[in-house]
Symmetry: C2
Subunit: 328 residues, 2 copies
Amino acid sequence: MEKVTIATVARRAGVSRQTVSNVLNTPDVVREETRERVREAIAELGYRVNQAARQMRTGRSRLIAVRIEPANDGINGSVLDRFLHGLTDAAGLAGYRVMLYTAAGDDDEIATYEELLSAYDLDAFVLTSTHHGDPRTSWLAGRDIPFVTFGRPWGAPDTHSWVDVDNASGTTAATERLLATGHRRIGFLGWPAGSGVGDARREGWARALGAAHLLGSSAGVEDGVDTGAAAARGLLAAEPDTTALVCASDSLALGALEAAREMGRDCAVIGFDDTAVARAIGLTSVSQPLAEAAGRCMDLLRELLDGRAPSAPTHVLLPPSLVLRQTA
Amino acid sequence: MEKVTIATVARRAGVSRQTVSNVLNTPDVVREETRERVREAIAELGYRVNQAARQMRTGRSRLIAVRIEPANDGINGSVLDRFLHGLTDAAGLAGYRVMLYTAAGDDDEIATYEELLSAYDLDAFVLTSTHHGDPRTSWLAGRDIPFVTFGRPWGAPDTHSWVDVDNASGTTAATERLLATGHRRIGFLGWPAGSGVGDARREGWARALGAAHLLGSSAGVEDGVDTGAAAARGLLAAEPDTTALVCASDSLALGALEAAREMGRDCAVIGFDDTAVARAIGLTSVSQPLAEAAGRCMDLLRELLDGRAPSAPTHVLLPPSLVLRQTA
DNA sequence: TCCAGGAATTTGATCGTTCAAGACCTTGGA
DNA sequence: TCCAAGGTCTTGAACGATCAAATTCCTGGA
């Protein structure tokens, strides 16, 4: 099986290399009849463009890079993985491929950008886990490298396109559900103030309560089942009339469930992220539309890469959905 | 910031392109002093080889491909994700990058191989989820394309290198643990016969029981919490003296736990895969050394890619470990 | 002093594609 | 009849690296 190049196709179709290239890249400049002939030759020979050669000439690789977390073990770790699955699908459909990398910290990640850009000519990056004071976005923006973030730029100037899930509306929906089923004293179990995502989730709960002219207490602890259980015990003990808890994660929710069971309290619980754990134990949870988010990220990237970038960056905010199970 | 090529470096160091190339690829043919001078120039300029150009000449891309499952939702889905994390790490250390792809079925996957090979000149593939009658391995082997499987070639002729976890020894360890803690009637909750992995897990349990001259019953059902619960109910009802269950997955184990609780039976349960769910609910589970497996896969691949392939394929069988928690 | 022979370095060609520019046809209006 | 203007197709050069062969530089023995 000889290697089939553009020259092979050209010979077979009786045209020049460039004409074949034109059929591939700018079909409209080639006469109908010729175009067909070339297409047949391509099909017969099973020709495929060699990306490396194309890339050398055009500087574009049709590759996008995403970071994969080193080896997170938590209940919530799977969220990014699910996003990754969606992104790989969406990229494939758009003719791109996803390349993975790991990095220990933001600076290391930036070093990796340099490496990937110069070695592999990466076309674009998708960033996840954006946070306050994130140096990555400004580094990329400063070099005009196409990128999209999954997660809005917390605090940073809003100069790039992003996709995010409306965290607040998720907890609002959760709280409203609890209100609708008769709960009147609804607490919130979240993370310490300061993380954008966590604050938003708390905010959504507070907003729903406010709209119903109700009050509720909240706690902020590091994520985890045990920390969640401890915090929930505290909350439930301090407020005997609390009958429901909205939680910022499934881990916390699981802890809350444990605490309530221990204390013999009947307490509805709603988690966040709809992880495997939630599905397994029947925990009602707020579900992020990760596949859709990935698809939208890819859409935005294509805009950037095709040069038809809108003058202003685009922001996509997706509504999460509430998955009802036994716990609420 | 001008683009730095090998020619830039050569000029700066006062040598020819080829000498720079030699410093990079075959340092021993370059005189010590020259080598140093070139290395300095490389460092000063921040030069990095352009993979596309190198690849065009050498035909090697330093890229390896792995399939990522479309978007599996189950409790057990995360196993492959964790393997993927490890592989990305190991590949990075060895100077390779991981490229992802998805495929719907084996034939589609083979089509993707063709695409990836001709378009991106992939160096190697890592296959997961090997199964009986897997057409992928023979396709790759027939074309002399380097690959390793994570999972042994069930049934197929054993002509390639692979890494696998010793499933049987995992359930053996689990069963022995139960025996050591006094259980005498230990059941097994697994999948229908025919899947290599499932059969091996059952086999490990049976072996341990046999060594202790004991008997036990087993059930085989599709993976899932509900199916597991149903099967466990059946087993426990039929055998009032069963006090422990070894399960082929955490999903089944979770179901077993549910069933036992419902029935008011005190029953030890051990799952398999040490998923997030197991950690979350305190389920004792057999843990696969996924990071190590990924590392070994990478080692085998490097052997193949560096041409120092052993004449016979290498097989690596890793022992899993038992993670003790509350349920056993 | 000269030369053989190995070590160190350089030169030209090449990988497969696309860009830029030029060549070749048609067609139609002057 | 001739030429301008498009439309269509072809030709060389270039991208940045490595291979293969050629060249220069050394060293030491005759």
